[in-house]
Structure formats: structure tokens, C-alpha cells
């Protein structure tokens, strides 16, 4: 049946559905669909197990140590995962693309300098940078964004530079130059549109990486500050209670897993569709 509708065949339905249910709808509408307030504790309902394990439908995924509804917290946590990945990736893509374009177009020592910078950012363990920053300012939203940009800009810079190098030798660029187009115009009008697909695919492929990075930082206590119900923090809450109350860690982690899995599936499809030559990246 899908074969008759090319769009559906190319666009896998299951990952999209999972993403909608776990990430996108909760990120925007958690306030209305969550059964409870994610911050309100109910001291008479502490550590209630999920439904089917001795709990009730009042708290479908159980409650935490303070009697807060796990389902509501996970639903509200979606906006942190989505927000950080969107802001971080857009910023990282912009920084990486601009520097990659400059690097590939100007070549020479500028190119060497920028590519060296990429090598160096890849050489500094990202989590340690986060630790050092966290020691200065404490955990914060902007800290996570800085670390995300730091981790991903290099991928964009490298790929964009490589494509710019080959683009600038093409005939249409030479013709534009002969016609008197300025460097800025050539880069923005002739080169950038031709590598836009690469950038989009690369950005999609990074979403999963970024969500896991954000969750890891939050888990370590150096990401999103409490009391926000970021997924990594929820897993950390459950870490101490894993011996007796497994559900507190299990469900938020499952939300991360499902989200990242579907983003990755989607990214693979998008790559095959828009930019098959990125397969090796």
C-alpha cells in the first residue's frame, strides 16, 4: 500500500508516530495532557508503583520519592530535550557552516587555522569542558547549549568546508565570478544553496547525539538545573532507588531511548533521500 504513496514509503510512519507521542506533542502541550502538575508532591502517594505493578491509574507510571507523578514529569521533560536540541543544533550548525564556508572558500592560512580549531575541539573531552564550566557557573540551560555547540560545530565545519572546496571549482561558480559577483554573493547565492541538503541531513543526524549529551550532563548534575524534570535528572533521581523502586529510572530512560531511536531512523531515511553521499559520515 505504501508503494503507491511515495511520500509514505520514503517517510517511515512508525518513527514519526513515536516522536510525536514521546517528544513533540508533550513538548508543546504537556500542561494540558499531563494528568498532574510535575512539581506538586503528594506526600500520601510517595513511591507508588506503576499501574500493573501494584499501582493505580491515578499515577500510570508511578510516583517518585516526593510523590510526584512520573508520567507528568516525563511529559514535561520533553520540552527540555526538544528545546536544547533545537537551540543547540541551530547555533552549532550556523557557527559550523559559517566557519566551514570561510575555510573552504578562502583556503590558505585561514583554512588551516579553522581546521586546526576543529581538531582541537574534538580533542578536548566534552564532558570535562562541561565539568569545568559547571564549576564556574553551576548547572544551567546556557551551559548545556555552549557544550552542545562546542561538540557539534566541528562536524558541520568539516563537511561544509569539504563541499565548499569542491563547489568553488565548479563551472557555475567560475562563471559567476567572471560575471562580477562578489565573494559574499558567490558564497551565499551559489555555494550555500547547493550544500543546504548536507547541512539539513547533518543536523538531523545530530539530534540524537545532542539529546543523549544533554541527558548525560543533566544526569551528572551539570546540565539542566533542578527542579526542572529533564529526563537525565529523572534518571539520576532513580539511580539511588534502583534497588527498591526501579520505575523511577526506567521510564524516563525509555523516553530518551525511544526518542533518539526514532530520530536516528528518521535521519537515516532523510540522508538516503536528500544526500546519499553522506552515508559514510
Amino acid at each position: 500500500m505504501f508503494n503507491r504513496i511515495p511520500f509514505l514509503r520514503r517517510f517511515p510512519v512508525i518513527p514519526v508516530a513515536i516522536l510525536l507521542v514521546v517528544l513533540i506533542i508533550p513538548a508543546f502541550f504537556a500542561t494540558w495532557i499531563a494528568p498532574h502538575d510535575p512539581y506538586t508532591s503528594n506526600l500520601r502517594a510517595r513511591l507508588v508503583p506503576p499501574v500493573g505493578f501494584g499501582g493505580s491509574w491515578d499515577y500510570p507510571l508511578g510516583t517518585d520519592r516526593l510523590g510526584r507523578c512520573m508520567l507528568s514529569r516525563i511529559l514535561h521533560g520533553a520540552k527540555y530535550a526538544l528545546g536544547i536540541s533545537m537551540i543547540g543544533i541551530v547555533l552549532g550548525a550556523v557557527v559550523g557552516t559559517v566557519l566551514g564556508l570561510i575555510s573552504g572558500y578562502l583556503r590558505g592560512w585561514v583554512d588551516v587555522f579553522i581546521m586546526r580549531l576543529v581538531d582541537i575541539t574534538f580533542a578536548l573531552p566534552s564532558i570535562l569542558l562541561a565539568l569545568a564550566l559547571a564549576a564556574i557557573s553551576g548547572p544551567s540551560f546556557s551551559l548545556v547549549v555552549i557544550v552542545v555547540v562546542f561538540v557539534i560545530w566541528g562536524f558541520f565545519a568539516r563537511q561544509v568546508r569539504a563541499e565548499t572546496l569542491s563547489m568553488r571549482e565548479r563551472d557555475f561558480v567560475a562563471k559567476a565570478r567572471v560575471a562580477g559577483a562578489s565573494d559574499t554573493r558567490i558564497v551565499l547565492k551559489y555555494i550555500l544553496p547547493n550544500i543546504a541538503n548536507t547541512i539539513i541531513v547533518l543536523a538531523t543526524l545530530q539530534i540524537g547525539v545532542v539529546i543523549i549529551l544533554e541527558a548525560s550532563l543533566s544526569f551528572l548534575g551539570i546540565g539542566i538545573p533542578r527542579p526542572a524534570p529533564a529526563w537525565g535528572l529523572l534518571v539520576a533521581d532513580g539511580r539511588q532507588l534502583i534497588v527498591s523502586n526501579w520505575w523511577i529510572s526506567l521510564f524516563p530512560g525509555l523516553a530518551i531511548l525511544l526518542t533518539v531511536l526514532s530520530v536516528n531512523l528518521l535521519g537515516d531515511r532523510l540522508r538516503d533521500w536528500l544526500d546519499p553521499k553522506l552515508r559514510q559520515v
Binding site: R116, I127, L128, F219, L220, R239, V243, L257
Partner: protein, 306 residues
Amino acid sequence: MLKFLAHRLIHALISLLVITVIVFSLSHLSGNPIDAMLPDDATPQQIEDLTRHLGLDRPILVQYLTFLQNAAVGDFGDSLKWKGQTAAQVVLERMPATLQLGGLALLISVVVAIPLGVLAAVYKNTIFDATATVIALLGQSLPAFWLGIVLMWIFAVTLGWLPTSGHGGLSHMILPAISMAWFQISALTRLTRSAMLEVLDAEYIKLARVKGVREQQVIWKHAFRNAAIVPITYFGVLAGSLLTGSVVIETVFNWPGTGWLAITAIQGRDFPVVQTVVLFFAVLFLLANFVVDVLYALIDPRIRNA
């Protein structure tokens, strides 16, 4: 080949230099270390003495050069949290635990990923290939810290086969090592598989088969040796991400290595120790990459003879 290696070595040294600048600037942004080192009721005279003693009254460039000079001989100052020990001592003490765990994780990834990748390529579209695909996909999507907790819940809490956390013998290392290796397995399997697929398609493999070479020999001797260069280049990256992974996994399992140390030092605002960990990790990472370059040069005649 020597020229190639000299070139790579210079690159590594420049990277290291820039990293020291970053670390140095971060330590200067981290607020006044004097506050952390003296009691709240310190007199202005005490503060001034300590400032002069630490050289914090001198120009920033001089301070950086002093820092560099000290770092070169492994002197990163005294730990603020672990009294009576230098930062380098504290970090070195924890290093064996991290290397043990990282080594085991590396071993697991190689032992699982290389055969799996080869089998997936040789028996394309069979159960091996499907297993490799599922592992690759899950490896990219599972957060290591959560996998660690789930493994702990299943094998330590529910089944009681292994200890939940802490430092000890091999039984303490199994769960953390698997959690650390998981992502590497997925990446390495994928790389090995695609490298093998490419090589198996080459003319010389077909020739070997036509000549009547045994299939096992074709796969391992003719194909794998040529495909191995791709996984080897990845080892540099692998070493780095194992180091980073150690921070998360050591925290999950309370494994007292350098990663755990970094988190504990941050909580105790022990900046000299954090600094030392960052520089140690950077050096290890650059070293691993340099070793990869050497291996690469040894294996690939195009570089060896250049």
C-alpha cells in the same frame, strides 16, 4: 614516513598547547581561588600573602607561562579537597582504576565488534547481519548511563549475579565495562561491516576465490587484513570516547577512577584536580591518536613509502 609522523606530532603538540590555554583561562574564570583556600575570617594580610605566594598578582601572561612550566613537570598545585596531596598525585592514584575499566571495555568492544562486523559482511542479509544492524542502531540510541542502571537493576538487583557498584575484582567490572563498551561495539561493528563489504567486492578477492583459496583464508587473510585499516583509524576516536564515557559510567557505578574523581572534585570546587584531569585526558587522547597514526603508517604502504 618519518616526515608524516613528524607532521602529526607537531599537530598534536599545537593542539595540546591550545588546550592548556583553554584550561588556564577556565581556571581564571572560576573565581578567586583564594576564597576557597582560606577560612572566611582571614585577615587582609593573609589574603595578600597567599596572593603573592601563588603569583596571582603578576601579569596574566607571566602566570600562564608559569602554569605551563609547572604543567610540563607535572606540577598542578595542591588539591583543595584531598588535603596534603598534590593534584597530580590525586589524579595518578585514580588512573589505574580508570585504565582497568577502559581497557576491559576496549577489549569487550573489539572481541565482540570485529567478528560480528566481519560475519555481518560475509553473511549479508542473514541473522548475523540483522543482529549487527540492531546492535548498531541500539548502540547509538541508548544513553550509557541509563543502560548501566538497567543492567544493574537486572543483573545485580533482580538476579543477584553481580555486585551493584563499587570497586573490587572482575565481578565489579563486568557491568560498567559492558555499559561503556556498548556504544563502541555499535560503532566498530558498523565500520568493520562496511569496510569488509567494500573489500569483499574487490577483484583480488574474486581472484583468490577463483584460484581455489579456502573461504576462511579468503575472509581472514585476504579480506580482513585489508579491511582492518578502517577500524584501526577509529581507535583514536574510541580511546577518547572511552575516557569521556568513564566520567558517566564511573559515576553510575561509584567506580573510584578519574572520571568519578572529576565529578567529585567539581562538587568540592577542587579546581586544581579538575584541571589536571582535563589535561591528563587530553594528553591520553592525543597520544592514542598519535599511536593510531604510527600504526596507520606501518600498515599502509602508501604512507610508509611516501
